[in-house]
Symmetry: C2
Subunit: 368 residues, 2 copies
């Protein structure tokens, strides 16, 4: 059977009331669907994307040379089986792939929001998705699955809309962003802000894409360090030096340097710098316990079957952060949650690149 990849966009004119007290109005949400919605709408699975991800989680468009970011997991006969499930992945509010974000035109002006865009939170992202599903007349789903910032959304869904999803699967994420992750984001934010071509937000997006914003490239390089692990870097690069470079040339490069440079500068071709500031801000201020007396109190609200999956060498969201959440759930007597630590030396990237280590688990959760 085919993936039945479809792309859609919805326009909303009702105000979206944000955590910050600000209002987003109007706004758009771009999303993809895969598979077919069954008659009683009981086969919906929601996928949530990470920092630089998008609604394009699976399949390929004509002319593409690589598929969506979780294609290894989503498709006909795969763990998230589109022969069986109707899968929805939407671009989050604040992002730059079709949903309303800081470079969208601000109504009623014909200028981008830029710094006038409100800070959005993970909760706001989730709320906007919930409104989208309402419009699609979907009021309960089978499962919500996400990794990294997508995992934060999955957990936030579980907390904020306890009856909305039967199952929640959160991977490579945390219950509250820790200083280590905030520090990496800080390097990127500072590098973007201090790049003169960023023009304090008044850059021309087309020129930026063409010329490469070195600040964002540098920030992304730092990001890539946090996505890997000592072990994966060791295996991937070791101390390999570029063949044509001399060891004693000041600008001669190790392979790891070449990798960072390539990925850093390539990133500026497909991601928006102002969006990077806003999404990293949303990640930094994410804390499931906000608004509650404690994480314990918050966790008492959870009703869905909850699956926490961490990766042993994740340097960005350490395995113990998910374990802490598992402990708190135990403490408050939650008997419907599971914690799995996947052995992997890929680091944070494992949730994207080592799908074969956890896809059977996800399949069983979804079908069980």
């Amino acid at each position: 059977m085919s993936l039945n990849l479809q792309i859609h966009s919805e326009h909303f004119t009702n105000p979206l009331y944000l955590d910050s007290g600000r209002i987003l109005e109007p706004y758009d949400i771009t999303y993809e669907t895969y598979g077919t919605l069954n008659e009683d709408k009981s086969n919906v699975i929601v996928i949530c994307h990470a920092l630089t991800g998008s609604h394009h989680a699976a399949g390929m468009y004509e002319g593409d040379n690589k598929p969506g970011w979780w294609d290894a997991l989503i498709g006909s006969g795969k763990a998230i089986d589109t022969d069986k499930y109707f899968v929805i992945c939407s671009n989050v509010i604040g992002s730059c792939f079709g949903s309303t974000g800081p470079m969208s035109l601000r109504h009623p002006y014909h200028e981008p929001y830029r710094y006038k865009f409100p800070v959005v939170t993970i909760k706001d992202m989730v709320k906007a998705q919930r409104i989208l599903f309402d419009r699609l007349d979907i009021h309960r789903v089978h499962a919500i699955v996400g990794g990294s910032m997508g995992g934060m959304q999955a957990l936030q869904f579980a907390l904020h809309y306890p009856n909305f999803s039967n199952k929640i699967i959160a991977l490579a994420t945390t219950h509250a962003t820790q200083p280590w992750a905030i520090a990496f984001n800080k390097v990127a934010q500072e590098a973007i802000l201090k790049d003169p071509d960023f023009k304090q937000g008044y850059y021309d997006p087309d020129i930026i894409k063409e010329q490469s914003l070195s600040g964002m490239a540098i920030g992304r390089m730092a990001g890539h360090i946090s996505f890997l692990s000592h072990e994966s870097m060791q295996r991937k690069f070791g101390r390999e030096y570029k063949r044509d470079d001399g060891l004693y040339e000041l600008f001669g490069k190790f392979q790891v340097e070449s990798y960072l440079e390539y990925n850093g500068y390539n990133f500026t071709k497909w991601f928006d710098p102002l969006t990077y500031l806003y999404i990293t801000k949303a990640i930094n201020i994410f804390d499931l316990s906000r608004g509650y007396d404690s994480l314990q109190e918050a966790m008492q609200k959870i009703k869905a079957e909850l699956h926490l999956i961490s990766f042993s060498n994740d340097m960005l969201f350490k395995s113990y952060e998910m374990k802490e959440l598992d402990n708190v759930l135990n403490e408050v007597g939650n008997t419907n949650h599971h914690y799995l630590e996947v052995e992997s030396d890929y680091g944070h990237d494992a949730f994207l690149v080592e799908v074969e280590k956890f896809d059977t688990y996800i399949k069983e959760v979804l079908n069980g």
Copy 2:
């Protein structure tokens, strides 16, 4: 008794033949001494400094508000006891605190070297120190002690001048720089190079110090991440937010962000960016086994009593890197070496800030 802190500078007119095949000529070495040289010159201890360190390892000058970088370890009655030992710490070749480096005037021109400065290696740094000691008529020392890049120098001394020092103590270092450390350096190098105020090396050092080179500040922020550990950041900052900042302000800051910003920008007041490029290059290309068929072959040259000290949560030079060296020494039948892993959650910084965890060990090694 007093520390007897003295500062000196020596000028050398003989060529220094570098690993790269290039020549440095003439050159200066600035160094400090503490304590008093005994009659038979048998009480010399050499201290080697790290990336951004200097010859100023202990004591204070008038008007200073903080002492040298290893003051907790070096002084009257301390582990490296200046009542007993004559301690020498020199600024490495390539650095910016008085010894010849890339911003020194290039003979016979009255212009800084800038990119004309040759790439120097850890071995070159060590060689220059050996020449300095020759001039001081010191041909054998009691011990060489260094952490991080200082530890690389200590190991290089042991390998290259096997009869020069009785004891070698290398802390928080590696036998060959790993891709993880190179990656952090890459972020800093790229940030410096892409800063328009760096002017491709043609900056005015005074203006740079005054105005702060944001590129180097950003690079230093990344560096600080690598100096810390998850645990120390957790304890030091947690998720503390700056009191006067609003959580939903785009530029509101967590304490960890404030810390990185302060240390990053402050760094630009006292360190030179071109020097940063050269010293990180020296660190990146450091590999004890270069010029040998294997690390095993290299380690067979070692004659000194060798002490390897690593720190359990060091993220920059992982504990197992020193353990690897220890294993190789065992393999080749070296019976005069010791490996100690210090439990610490301070990360790489531990060799500077948790001296009380290893000073007794160092004292015993020196006096034993």
